[in-house]
Structures are given as C-alpha cells and as structure tokens.
C-alpha cells in the first residue's frame, strides 16, 4: 500500500514535466503577437515591445525559456502576466469559485443521479424507467451551452427566479443553477451507470442471501446492494470531479462566473503563455490526484482489490 502510493506519487513528476513542456510549447507555437492590442488603438511602440521582450526573455530559445519558467515555479514563484498581474494572486481569486461550482455540480450529480439510478434500477422496466432513460438521453445530447443559455433565459430573464448572472462573490446559492448546468451531462451518465449497476447486482447471490437471512428490505438495498453497485459509480464521479474543475469554461462563460474556466479562456485569447501553462498544469495535477484517490477508494469499496 505504502509502496503503491509512493510509486503513484512519483509518477506525477514525469507527468508534470511533460504537460508543462507540451503546453508551454503549444502556447508559444500559436501564431500572433502577444503585444497586439496591448496599447489601445495604436500599435505598441518598439521600445515597449523590446523592453517587454527583454524582460520576459522572449528572444531566448524555447528550451531556455521553459527551464527558466520551471526554475521559478519550483521555487514557488508562479510569475506574472505581461500586464504585471501576479499569477498566483489571480489563481487564488478564481480557484475557490471553481471549486465551489464543481462541488455543487458533484452534489447534484450524486443526489439526483444516484437516487434516480437506484430507483429505476430496483423497479425495473416501467413508466418511470422510460421517463428517466429518455430524459437522460436528452440531457446527454444537449451541449452545455444550450442547457445553460435556456435555463438562464427561462429562469433568469423570463421568470426572474434567479439572477441571470452570478455576482463576483459567487455564493453557494447563486451557483446551484450553474452547477446543475455544469453537471447535467455527467448526472445523466451517473443515473444510467447506477441503474445498470443496480440492475446487474440485484439478482446476485449475496442479495438473495441477505433477503433469506431476514434482513429488512431497505437494508438489503442500501447496505448490501448499494455498496457493491457503488464501485463503477464512484470511479466515474472521481474522474469527473477532475474534469469538472477544468471543464467549466462554457458554463462560467454563460453565467459570467469569475472562475478558472473564464481565466483560462481570457488568457488563451491574450496569449499569456505562462498563465495558460500554469493553469493547465494545475488542472492536470488535480486530475491525477483525483484518479489516485479513486484508485485508493477501490480498495476501500472492494476489499478483494489489492495493491502491489
């Protein structure tokens, strides 16, 4: 177990180096002038451009630039953007909002998705099952920006139930609808996954044993059946939380949320290479960490799984 954990953590190092280098290279390979439009209507004066180029080492070979960047990151200095804003400060402003949004989305997935999956899985074919299958198919086939825009217009503009956009504080309450939009597709998958898993397991021998033992019906379902059916669902939820963190670009755009998604979008447009590299690397690390947690959870959920 300890050795397994160490091995997995060590794997983070090459992944970290690889992603930072690839993203760094890609951002630099994008054609265009990072200083275009930085000086209002006019073109930036040559002196400004050469000063900035000097200051950010833009004339150095790519590899040199990369290692300079890496050295700074490893000493805890994430650097600053071309406009002189501290990257770590920006991250600290946006990250909590995105994390909050992701948690709201995850909770909605678990509550609605798992409940709908368990109910349809146990009841089997019928009206409710068809309703859930059709509505999840509907959600899966809708792109996030459609779900987002429709809900924003209906709930926010037409009926006035919510504010159409989220305030700068992005409180939990304000994030419910955006969280639903962000999590809707995964929620549909969670529903179907839970339903399939329950359907497969409900005729298992150990469920029959639990009934034959005289355990109450709800215990048979919620202890014996659910625990065994949870394994694929937890896997999905874990890896999905990783992508929820980074995949919020569209949702954050629609609801004007100041999170990581918006940050990365603006910085790609402005060719802020260092910023983009930092965020993407961070997201990759979050993703890796989530999959590590999921892998460790396996052993908790299913004692037959052994590491080493």
């Amino acid at each position: 177990m300890g050795r397994y954990l160490l091995r997995r953590l060590l794997q983070f190092v090459p992944v970290f180096l690889g992603t930072t280098f690839i993203v760094y290279t890609l951002v630099w390979a994008v054609p265009g002038d990072p200083f275009a439009g930085k000086c209002g209507e006019r073109q930036c004066p040559d002196t400004f451009v050469s000063l900035m180029t000097e200051r950010y080492g833009l004339n150095d070979p790519l590899v040199v630039q990369y290692f300079t960047y890496l050295g700074k990151v490893l000493t805890g200095n994430l650097g600053e953007t071309f406009s002189g804003v501290s990257i770590s400060e920006q991250l600290l402003n946006s990250a909590p909002i995105t994390v909050r949004l992701a948690i709201v989305a995850l909770l909605i997935q678990i509550v609605i998705g798992v409940v709908a999956g368990v109910v349809t899985g146990i009841r089997g074919r019928g009206y409710l099952d068809n309703l859930v299958l059709v509505s999840t198919l509907f959600l899966i086939s809708l792109p996030t920006f459609v779900t987002g825009s429709v809900l924003q217009i209906l709930l926010g503009v037409e009926w006035g139930i919510i504010d159409p956009t989220v305030s700068a504080q992005a409180t939990w309450g304000e994030l419910i609808v955006p969280g639903f939009v962000l999590g809707s597709i995964s929620m549909a998958y969670v529903t179907r996954l839970t339903r399939t898993s329950i359907t497969e397991n409900k005729h298992a021998d150990y469920v029959r044993t639990a009934i034959a033992k005289g355990q109450p019906g709800r215990r048979v379902v919620f202890v014996h059946l659910l625990r065994n059916s949870a394994i694929p669902v937890v896997t999905f939820l874990g890896t999905d939380l990783g992508s929820l963190m980074g995949g919020a670009i569209v949702t954050e755009g629609v609801f004007n949320i100041n999170g990581i998604g918006g940050l990365i979008f603006r910085n790609i447009a402005e060719k802020e290479g260092v910023m983009v590299t930092t965020i993407v690397t961070l997201l990759v690390l979050v993703y890796l960490l989530m999959s590590l947690i999921v892998d460790l959870l396996y052993a908790v959920l299913d004692p037959r799984i052994r590491y080493d």
């Binding site: 021998d205 029959r208 009934i211 034959a212 005289g214 355990q215 019906g217 625990r227 065994n228 299913d302």
Partner: protein, 364 residues
C-alpha cells in the same frame, strides 16, 4: 404420517394437538416460470413435511425442483419470472404464502434459515464475515455493536473455525471453501432457527471437507433439535444423515420413505435407477448403470407419468395416467402405478443383507 416418530419425539411435544402439526409442511406447491421461451412448469404439486429434530433429504437431478421448493418456502423466488400458482407452506400450521411481508421477514432467519451451495457468491464480498454474522444480531435482535461482535465470534467458534477472534475480521475471499461454508452455517444459526434448509451445502467442496461439513450440520441439528431439510443429489450424503427421503422428479415428489426402507427397497423405478447408478465395490469392473435419457424439459412434460420415457417398467397405462402419490405400508409414499408390485417382488439391487443400513432396522 408422522406417527412413526411419535415414540422418539414424544417428549418434545407439549400440546396434544401439536403432534399433528409438523414443523413445516409443504402442500401441493405449484410454481411456473414464465419466460419468453414459454412456460416452464417447475413445481407440479410438491408436498412434504419435516418435524423438529428430523432430517429430510430432498433428492433429485438438477432441474427437478428441489431448490425452487426451498426458495418458495423462504420466499426468495425471483418473481417474475416465477409465479406461485397454488399450494401452501405451513410453518407451525401458519401459511407463509399468504402471510404479510413483515411476517415473512420475521420467519426468515428466526424460524427458517437457509444455507446455499456456493458460499463464495452467497456471502457479500465487500463485508467481513463478522459483519455479516453480527448484522443478524444487531438488526434482528437489537444487540449493540460490541455484543453482536462477541456473538459472531461465539458462532464462529461453534462452527469450529479456528482463531475465531481474528477470523471475524476476515473477508469471505480470505477464507477457504470449507471455512466459508462454516461461516455461512454460523450466519444461519445466529437467530437460532427452528428449521434449517441446506441447499446442496457440500457440492462445491472437496470430499474430506464435505464430510466435515456434514458432521458439523448433523451435530448442530442434534444439539438444537432443529429440523433440517437437506437438498442434495448425493446419495452417499443422504444415506449418512437423513431420517427420511423425498425423491423429486420433474417438479413432483415421486417417492417418500424412511431412509432405511428406501435404500432396502425403492417403491419407484426412478429411485431404483438412482440406487443402481451408484458405484459399488461388489460390482467392481462392471459398467455403471446410468439412467437412460434425459429429464424432461419442464416446458414440455410428457403426458402420463413424467418418468415413463425413461422407465424400464413403463406400460401403456403409464403413457396416459398420471400416477397418484399414494400411501404404501410402512409410512411411505410413491407415485408409481406399480409401487406395490415393486415392494412385493423385492429389490434385486444395491443393499445386500449384510449392508449396515439394511440390517439396522426392519420395515415393510
């Protein structure tokens, strides 16, 4: 029907009326499986009974309805596809089939417990053995966690699992096959049931372990004066532990008799064929006599006696008339038109006089 056992069991019978009510009586149970491929008539009027302290062996080939009968008694049939068409399951005279779900749940574990063939899949893989035993005590008896754990350790001790205190924390996959079956027996005994149904408890185990498990079951049954229904297709096991035998074929009981009587002289050609198919030391080197043909498909059970296509004694009457399950001398029953003739003409088969089972008791 139960008068034979009065002499032995009389002391346990408190009420004069109680001796006419067996611990469990199954009456004319009829069950169908309705699938897309058609309707399979799985049980076609099964009746048997078992008393406290008695072991009834239910014998038959795969698909003869042994397990389905047990599952109907326990109320764990998958419905659909199964449909219970009729019959009664009387536990102390109370019909379980018409009982409320809450009452049925109460009877499970406390009145009737069941152990299954494959303990590895029948135990929940994600919970420790101790949890699964203690769960019974916690949920059904309202014991605290610590008390229930102690109870679980005692039960593991009872089924002779060494180092019960440590083993209570093990998961089913960490046990050997025999230990798993022991753990399952421990779990079934948690609520001190009056009747235990063992559905082929030793089929998945190797021979030495089989014997240990059967010994354990027999000891526990004697200690607790528990009724035991032993479902098996192993005649050897039956001969050793059963008091009475019910032979099933195509969803019917075809013969029911005292174990000694049945081994000495079967009153149904199917039982006779089963006994003849046993390997015997005195017929060493000869071919085994297998029963010709296959059991009928339950979607198309032949008219008349269901065994007639494979029966060496079959005559025209067997093709048309379903034989009654009728009483015979010596408290036994048979569903064969020629049961009387079979008993009178004697049985040329498997039990010579010097056989221990043949000598120990006279009957018929």
């Amino acid at each position: 029907m139960s008068t034979v056992y009065d002499g032995e069991r009389g002391e346990f019978v408190a009420e004069p009326a109680a001796d006419t009510v067996p611990l469990l009586a199954v009456k004319d149970l009829r069950v169908e499986f309705r699938t897309n491929d058609g309707v399979a008539k799985v049980l076609n009027g099964v009746s048997y009974h078992v008393d406290a302290g008695e072991t009834l062996a239910v014998l038959g080939e795969s698909g003869s309805g042994k397990s389905v009968t047990a599952q109907t008694i326990m109320g764990i049939l998958d419905m659909p596809p199964a449909v219970v068409l009729g019959g009664e399951v009387l536990f102390h005279g109370e019909d379980l089939l018409s009982a409320k779900p809450a009452r049925r749940m109460q009877v499970r574990g406390e009145g009737i417990a069941m152990i299954f063939q494959d303990a590895l899949s029948a135990l929940n893989p994600v919970f420790t053995v101790g949890f699964q035993i203690a769960e019974q005590l916690r949920v059904r008896r309202g014991l605290s966690r610590a008390e229930a754990r102690k109870g679980a350790i005692d039960l593991l001790d009872l089924v002779r699992i060494p180092h019960a205190k440590q083993r209570v924390r093990s998961y089913p996959h960490e046990f050997s096959g025999g230990m798993r079956q022991r753990a399952m027996i421990a779990m079934s005994l948690a609520l001190d049931p009056e009747l235990l149904i063992a559905d082929e408890p030793t089929t998945a185990l190797d021979v030495t372990v089989q014997a240990q498990i059967m010994d354990l079951l027999r000891d526990i049954q004697r200690e607790r004066d528990m009724g035991l229904i032993l479902i098996t297709h192993d005649l050897g096991v039956v001969a050793e532990v059963a008091d009475r035998i019910a032979v099933m074929y195509a969803g019917r009981i075809v013969e029911q008799a005292d174990v000694y009587a049945l081994f000495r002289g079967p009153a149904h050609p199917y039982t006779e064929a089963l006994l003849q198919s046993l390997p015997r030391l005195d017929l060493k080197g000869q071919d085994l006599k297998a029963i010709k043909g296959l059991p009928p498909s339950l979607t198309r059970i032949p008219p008349g006696c269901p065994f007639h296509p494979r029966c060496p004694r079959a005559v025209d009457r067997c093709h048309q008339e379903v034989p009654d399950f009728h009483p015979l001398p010596g408290d036994r029953h048979s569903a064969c038109h020629f049961a009387h003739e079979m008993l009178v003409s004697g049985y040329p088969g498997s039990n010579p006089d010097k056989h221990s089972r043949g000598l120990s008791r006279g009957d018929a």
